[in-house]
C-alpha cells in the first residue's frame, strides 16, 4: 500500500510542465523504480506525482542529420540495449545499462530517471560522463542544454528547477565517432545490486598512440566524475602495459571515495585502481590494440 495523495497523468511534455507548476509539491514519476521506493519508505515529498510514464514524446532513440545521437529521457533500459543505433555507435552504453537491476527493472526504469535521481551510483551516468553527453531540459517556454558533468550538483541534487523536465540526452559525433569504450561495474552481486564502483573508459587511438582518453567513475566521489589529471597524463602516450600501471597510480589523485558501512575507502580505492587498468585494457582491445 502506498500513501499516495495525488496522481496526475500528463499527456504531453507541456502538460507535465503545467501540472508541475500548478502543484508545487508534486514531482515527476517515470518508471517509478526510485520514486516508489522512497514513497514506500515514507520519505516526504513523494506523495504527489505527475506521471510521465510511457509518454511517447520522451520515448525515442535517433540520429539526427548532424549525426547527433538523441535518446529520450523516457527510454527504458531494455530499449537501449536492443537499439541498433546504440549497439552500433556506443556499445559501452549497452554494457552499462545491461548491468542495472534485473530484467523487470530494465523493462520499466528510464535513463532519465536514473540521472534525475542524482546518485553517484547511477549506472548509466559514468558512461554519459565519458561521452560528454548534453542534457536538454525544458521548462515553461524555455529550453536549455546542460553538459552532464554540470547537471550533477551534489548527492541527490541535480540542476532541475521547478517545472522543468529533462527531455533528451544528446551525444555529438565528435564524442563517439572513432571512440572505443568499456564499462565495468563492480558490485557484490552480478545483478540487483548497487555499484561499489562503476568505471567507464572511452578512448581513441591512432598508430598505437592514445589520441583521446576519458575515464569516469561512479561512487568514487559524491557525484559521478571524470578524472582530468589521469586523462591528461594518458593523452598522446603510446599504448603499453606500463601505461596501464601508471594509470592505476595517477587515478588515486583524481578520486575521493569514502568509507561507509557498505565498503571502506581502502577497499574502494583498491577497486578503483584495478578497474582503471581493466576497463582501459578492454577498451584498447576493442580499439584493436594489443596489450
Amino acid at each position: 500500500m502506498f500513501d499516495l495523495k495525488k496522481h496526475m497523468k500528463a499527456n504531453s511534455i507541456d502538460h507535465a510542465i503545467a501540472l508541475l507548476l500548478e502543484n508545487p509539491d508534486a514531482r515527476l514519476i517515470a518508471g517509478g523504480t526510485d520514486v516508489l521506493i522512497k514513497l514506500r519508505n515514507g520519505k516526504p515529498g513523494f506523495s504527489e506525482l505527475v506521471d510521465i510514464h510511457s509518454l511517447e514524446e520522451l520515448n525515442f532513440i535517433q540520429q539526427d542529420e548532424k549525426n547527433n545521437i538523441l535518446i529520450g529521457s523516457g527510454v527504458v533500459f531494455t530499449d537501449i540495449i536492443q537499439s541498433d543505433i546504440i549497439k552500433k555507435h556506443i556499445p559501452m552504453l549497452c554494457d552499462a545499462v545491461q548491468s542495472i537491476g534485473g530484467p523487470q527493472i530494465r523493462n520499466i526504469a528510464t535513463i532519465g530517471g536514473n540521472n534525475c535521481n542524482g546518485v553517484t551510483s547511477a549506472d548509466s551516468a559514468s558512461t554519459l560522463f565519458a561521452l560528454n553527453a548534453v542534457l536538454e531540459i525544458r521548462g515553461k517556454g524555455t529550453t536549455r542544454q546542460v553538459p552532464v558533468s554540470d547537471f550533477y550538483l551534489g548527492p541527490g541534487k541535480v540542476d532541475l528547477k521547478k517545472g522543468e523536465i529533462l527531455t533528451t540526452f544528446k551525444i555529438t559525433p565528435e564524442n563517439y565517432q572513432g571512440y572505443f569504450g568499456y564499462f565495468y561495474k563492480y558490485a557484490m552481486r552480478n545483478a540487483m545490486d548497487i555499484a561499489t564502483i562503476g568505471c567507464a573508459v572511452s578512448l581513441k587511438t591512432k598508430k598505437h598512440i592514445i589520441e583521446d582518453y576519458r575515464i569516469a567513475y561512479g561512487v568514487a566521489g559524491p557525484v559521478p566524475m571524470r578524472c582530468p589529471k589521469t586523462e591528461k597524463s594518458v593523452i598522446n602516450r603510446k599504448v603499453s602495459k606500463s601505461l596501464l600501471d601508471e594509470i592505476s597510480q595517477t587515478i588515486e589523485t583524481d578520486v575521493s571515495p569514502r568509507t561507509s558501512w557498505r565498503a571502506t575507502k581502502d577497499f574502494r580505492m583498491n577497486i578503483i585502481k584495478e578497474l582503471s587498468k581493466r576497463a582501459t585494457k578492454e577498451a584498447l582491445l576493442r580499439a584493436g590494440e594489443e596489450v
Binding site: A191, A263, F267, E274
Partner: protein, 775 residues
Amino acid sequence: MAIGKSVNRIDAIAKVTGRAEYTEDLYKPGMLVARYFRSSIAHGRVKNIDVEKAKVLEGVEAVFTFKDVPENKFATAGHPFSIDPDHQDVADRLLLTRDIRFMGDEIAIVVAQDEIIASKALQLIEISYDEYTPLILPEDILKKDARQIHKGSSNIVGEHQYSTRDLQVISGDVDDALEKADYVVEGNFETVMVQHCHLENHIAYAYMDDLDRIVIVSSTQIPHIVRRIVSEALNMPLSRVRVIKPFIGGGFGNKQDVVLEPMVAFLTLKLDGRAVQINLSREECMTGTRNRHPFHINVKTGVMKDGTMVARKMDAISITGGYASHGHAIAAAGGSKQSSLYPRMATKFHARTLYANIPVAGAMRAYGSPQVIYALECATEDAARKINMDSVEFRLKNIARQDDINLLSGKKILSCGLADCLLKGKAFMDWDKKKKEYEKCKSGPIRKGLGVACLSYTSGTYPVCVEIAGARISLNQDGTVHVMVGATEIGQGSDTIVAQMAAETLGLAYEHVRVVQTQDTDVSPFDTGAYASRQAYVVSNAVFRAAADLKKKILDHAGLMTGKKARDLNIINGKIVDTHTNAFLMDMKTLAIDSFYHKERGCQLTADVSHKTTTNAPVFGCTFVDITVDIPLCKIKINKIINVHDSGIILNPVQAGGQVHGGVFMGIGAALSEELMINPATGYIYNNNLLDYKFPTFMDLPQIHHDFVETFEPTSGYGNKSLGEPPVISPPPAIRNALLDATGVSINSLPISPHKLFTAFKKNGLMVSKGDADV
C-alpha cells in the same frame, strides 16, 4: 510403481497458474491490520509510553502496550511438548515487553483499518527509555558484572558437553588422545547471523467463528504446535484454538517458531472476534522474526602421520540474541554431527548458548549443523594439509562407514554411502587431473583451487523429541483415495511424496491419490510439522501402515463381493486382480460403489494411523568445488560445484534435485556473501533488506550439479532418509578449503566476502598492485 519416479508435483499447476491460495490471498470482510511498535534501542527499559494520540487517530481501532498483555511468559520454539520438565523450552517471552532486548523488540501494537493508518499511528506514539549498554560480543556478555538480559539467567541459556570418555563408547579421553597424536591442529572459526529469506514473509490473521473459539490462519510449518503454544500464551484450552495452514511460500525453519499467532489471537479476543491480520514487511521479517545463530567454535584435532584422526575437541559458543527461542537445542544438535561423521575417534564437544542484544535466532535449515560442520570440515582440511595428504583420501580414511557405532547415540549406523559419495564426486570433478593442472595456478593475480567437505545429518529429532506422524486414507466413490496427513507441505514437496507413497502401497495410480493440501487442526491428523528434515522419513511409517491397512480392507471387501479369499487377491494398477489366475476382477470404482451403497455389506473404507518413529537414520553427503580467485578484485568465482548425497532411496529424483539445488544455493550465499551486519556498539542492523543483504541472484550462481548414492534404510517406510536440510551444510567449508588450496590463505570466518578477502590478502602480502600481471 510411484516411488522413485519424478511425477509432477501435486500442486504444480495450482502454483504456476497462481490459483494456489496463500494466507495473504485469504480475506475476511472488515479485517483489521495490526502493526508493532518496535524499540529503537537494543538494550533498555521503557520509562514512559504515551499512546493517546495514536488511539484517537481516525481509523485506529485500538492500541495495546506491554501494560495490556497477560503477565504470562511462554516459549516460542516449534518443538513438540516435552513431558520431562527439564527438556521444556525456555519460557521467556511476553506478548509485548517493557524490557528491551534487541533493536526491534515489540513494545506496543496498533490495530487500524489499513496499514497506512497503522503506520501513521505508530509515529504518534511517544516513548522514553532507560538505556543500558548493548551486550553483543561474547566477552562482554559473559563478564561477571554484565547486566542480565533476562533476570536470573546469567546470560547463558544452556550449556552441555559430551565426551567419549563419559559415554564409554570408545575408549579414551580426548586430552590423552591429543597428547598422543603426532600433530595437533587448532583453529578458531566463526559464523555470522544469516536469514532465511523465504519468499513469503510472516503473516497470520485470527478471528472468532463463534464467541468461544479462535481461528488462526497462518503461514506456519507447525500448525499443531501453534495451537498448543497459543493456548499456553493465552491461558485457554487447546481445543478452543483452531489453526489453518494454507499454501506456504517457504519457511526454512523461520516458521518453525510461533511468531505472530499468539498476538493475532490475543487481538481478536480483545476485539470481540473481529478478524485481525499481521503481515510483516521484509524489513521487519529480517530482524523481527528469527535468524541463524552466530557461532564461535574452537576445534582441536589430533592426527597421526598415517592420516588417522584420533581426537577432536570442540568448544562452541552459540548466540541466541534477545530471546531463547530454540535455545540451546541448536548447539546440541549441531555438536552431535561430529559423532556420526567421524565416529572412530576420541571426541569431546562442549557448548554454551548466550543471550545477546541482537535479533533473535531460531531454527534455520540444518539447525546448528552448518555452523558446527563448517568448523569441523575446515579443521579436517587443516589436519589433512598438516600431514600432506590428499583431502579426499584423508576423509575416506576417517569418515563413517556402515556398521560404525554413532558415538553419541550408541546406535549402529545401518546405512552409509558416504565413501561412495566421495568417490562419485571425485570422479565427477576429475579431481586428480585437476589437482595437477592447478598446481600451476597458485601464483599471480588469478589462482585456482579445489575443495571438498563432508556432512552428516539426521532424519528427525528422536530421541530428543517425540516423532509422531498421522495419516488417514479413505476410498472415494469413484475409486480414488483422499489422504490426510499432519505432515506439513511448505513448498518442499511433502504432499507429492505422500501421494507417491500411498499410491505405491495401495497399488493405485499416482493421479488417483489426492492429498488434502490445507491443514486444519480441527480435522488434520496430529503431526508436529515440517522441520528437522523429518517429514518424509517420519510420515513414511504412518502412510505405509495406513495404506497397508486400507489395502487389506479393500481386498477383504473384494473378497466379500467375489466370494474369493482376500489373500488370493491384489490391487495392480488400480484394479482388483486374482493373483492365481492373473484375472482382472473389477476396477476400483466398482468396488467403491459397492462398499458405499450395497445395502448390507461394506462401509466407507478408511484407515487411520498415528505412528511414533523411534529410530533416526543418519544421512551423509559431500560437496566438491572448483574455484577461480581473482586476487586484485577480491572475488571468488565458482567454476564447478557438485553435492553428492546418501539420503537412502530417492523417492522423486526431480524434487530431490530441487532440494539439493536450493540447499547449495543457500550454502553458496552463506559462504560468500550473506550476513546481517550489526553495529557492535548499538546493536543496529544495517541491512535488513534484500538490496543490502547479499542473497545471491541467479546471475551469481554457477550451474549446480548433484548426484545420489542410493542406500536402503531399513527403518523407514520406503528406504528413504532425510534430504531437506543437508544440502546447505557442506558448500561453505568446501569453498573455504578451495580458497585455501588456491591461495594458501585460510579464512576461518563466514562469509568470505570481497571485504574479508581484501583484508586477508593484504595481510598475507597478496595484494601487490604493481605490474600488468594484475590485469
